[in-house]
């Protein structure tokens, strides 16, 4: 019983935060709404990355590949047929002659993201540590260049536009909640717990029968599916997309979000996504000049300089992130046992 209460509480924090942001988005001007919806889509992306990185302890610079694949799959398949035949003339006939609706598009993106992750994960998940990080970076590079050059599957280097903007307050909020619920269910499942065990001590986990490669592959695949789904939410929010929007800067931003909130918890992923997304939007506006009692006009580029500095500061001062790497807890409602008197574990 106690563990269900504890589980419910852990889920309560992220869910409440997302719902509040969703409600707030309906109260602001339509010019500002995009920032709130963008933050919610960021939550879905960061939670997707967290599913793999947070649970496995293996850093990946490649998860934005799955966001990209999901975004372009959803985008290409939902551009209305009459415009598609005029703009995306070089597509494979199957892609050119068919269009799908809103929900099928989100599901398709999740499916393709997951499938892609499964296929590339088969060889990649045999790596760990530094090799894994570099190899996943290679994946990002490969995906980016294929999407940018191959005009039979997408718009190539041009902007994909005329994508239906179906991601409003409802869908952004629900989408973020779906990602959170999925990630939560996974990390409490037997698969998730085996992977988290291997994160702490891979050898000990193998010694008790955990197939570390396979568990990492499952997480990578599920992470890919959620990332594809988040990509679809994103393209349906923006209405247009280029390959550069789902490449290095987004990789950096989403990892900054995860690091800022705390790599090892779902709560950290959600808090980090919302906080850094909000700050990012504010700094973006400040580069254009913004009035906050006085006129703040930052030089172009200071947005990313500032965010990168914050990421570095968090890594130096609080490596486990803003949330300390733990799940959401209500103060006073603690686990029984010696937690309180216990010495702090070594960092």
């Amino acid at each position: 019983m106690r563990r269900y209460v504890e589980g419910a509480v852990q889920l309560l924090g992220p869910v409440a935060l997302v719902v509040v942001v969703g409600i707030l988005s309906t109260t602001v001007s339509s010019a500002n709404r995009i920032y709130f919806l963008n933050a919610l889509v960021s939550v879905a992306m960061v939670v997707a990355i967290y599913v793999f990185v947070g649970n496995s302890g293996v850093l990946s610079f490649g998860q934005i590949s799955f966001v990209a694949v999901g975004a372009f799959a959803a985008g290409v398949m939902t551009v209305p047929l009459d415009s598609k035949k005029g703009v995306l003339t070089e597509l494979f006939p199957l892609l050119r002659d068919h269009s799908i609706g809103n929900i099928p598009s989100l599901l398709l993106a999740a499916g393709i993201g997951g499938l892609f992750a499964l296929v590339v994960g088969l060889p990649l998940m045999r790596l760990s540590g530094l090799a894994a990080g570099i190899a996943t970076f290679a994946l990002l590079e490969i995906t980016h260049n294929i999407l940018q050059q191959w005009t039979k599957i997408g718009p190539g280097a041009t902007t994909l536009s005329l994508v239906p903007q179906t991601t409003g307050a409802w869908q952004a909020t629900l989408g973020a909640l779906v990602a959170i619920a999925g990630a939560f269910a996974y990390q409490r499942s037997r698969l998730g717990r085996q992977l988290r065990a291997s994160r702490e001590d891979p050898a000990a986990a193998q010694g008790i029968g955990v197939d570390v490669h396979r568990q990492r592959l499952w997480a990578f695949t599920f992470s890919g599916a959620l990332a594809g789904f988040a990509g679809a939410l994103s393209v349906h929010l923006l209405g247009s997309i280029t390959t550069d929007q789902v490449y290095l800067e987004l990789t950096f931003l989403t990892l900054a979000m995860l690091v800022f909130g705390g790599l090892t918890s779902l709560w950290g992923a959600v808090v980090g996504a919302l906080a850094i997304s909000g700050l990012d939007s504010f700094l973006g506006q400040a580069e254009q000049g913004v009035h906050i009692g006085f006129k703040l006009d930052l030089p172009t580029g200071s947005r990313l300089v500032f965010l990168a500095a914050i990421m570095a500061l968090v890594l130096i001062l609080r490596p486990s992130g803003l949330t300390g790497g733990g799940e959401f807890r209500i103060p006073g409602l603690r686990r029984a046992g010696p937690r309180e008197e216990a010495p702090a574990p070594p960092a």
Partner: protein, 230 residues
């Protein structure tokens, strides 16, 4: 360099075999070879008649051959109980069975009061016992315990001995025990295998080993002075 030469070790169900020897004798290498963390350049590893020499460690664990580590970290962001449950889940137990087995083991190992605590906050001795609980939760046919009692206060050793005997007597498992605590080894083992410089120096019952002068020279004399030095 060869860490092991011509060593032949058999472990049966329902018995506790001690593996002793000075540091560097090859005890840990032997355990690594048996459990798939090292692979032998020559020779085979068999489990109940099957050649498992090429098997991965997790596959061996699932087949009933598990081990603990000298320095194993607990899975820190899981609770103490979840640490044990995850082991049982790893070998295919259902959630309900895993929980039941975890609670039994925690009770036997004196960790029941800490079941809900975060494993990251455990004292050293508790963490070691948790490591043992985690291994036993897989309900192993054979379990290799690598210095499970190192760092354990002397007062807890009898309780620990009872746990090892219970694996043999109540669960029908075979235990290979590596430890520097000679009192523990002599008390619980049915047979003892002594390694020195990668070779078998002696093998026999605790009484035979105790009276073996070679062993005394190579090992017992040393540890009598240095004690547990892991």
């Amino acid at each position: 360099m060869q860490a092991l030469q011509g060593v032949n070790l058999e472990l049966h169900r329902k018995e506790v075999v001690g593996l002793i020897g000075p540091n560097g004798a090859g005890k840990s290498t032997l355990v690594n070879v048996l459990t798939g963390f090292d692979f032998p350049s020559e020779g085979t590893v068999e489990l109940e008649g099957r050649d498992i020499t090429g098997w991965s460690s997790h596959r061996r664990a699932r087949a009933g051959l598990t081990r603990s580590f000298q320095h194993s970290r607990s899975f820190r962001d899981l609770s103490v109980r979840e640490n044990v449950e995850v082991s049982a889940l790893g070998v295919g137990a259902g959630p309900r069975a895993a929980r039941k087995r975890a609670d039994e083991l925690l009770a036997v190992l004196g960790l029941a009061d800490l079941a809900e605590a975060s494993a990251g906050a455990l004292a050293h001795g508790d963490e070691r016992r948790l490591g043992v609980a985690r291994v036993l939760a897989t309900d192993p046919a054979f379990v290799l315990l690598d210095e499970p009692a190192a760092g354990l206060p002397e007062s807890e050793v009898p309780q620990f001995a009872a746990v090892i005997r219970s694996v043999r007597d109540d669960h029908g498992g075979g235990v290979l025990l590596i430890d520097h605590n000679m009192a523990l080894v002599m008390a619980v083992c049915d047979r003892i295998h002594v390694l020195d410089q990668g070779r078998t120096l002696a093998a026999g019952t605790p009484a035979e080993i105790r009276s073996n002068l070679d062993v005394a020279a190579a090992y017992l004399g040393e540890t009598a002075v240095t004690g547990a030095d892991a």
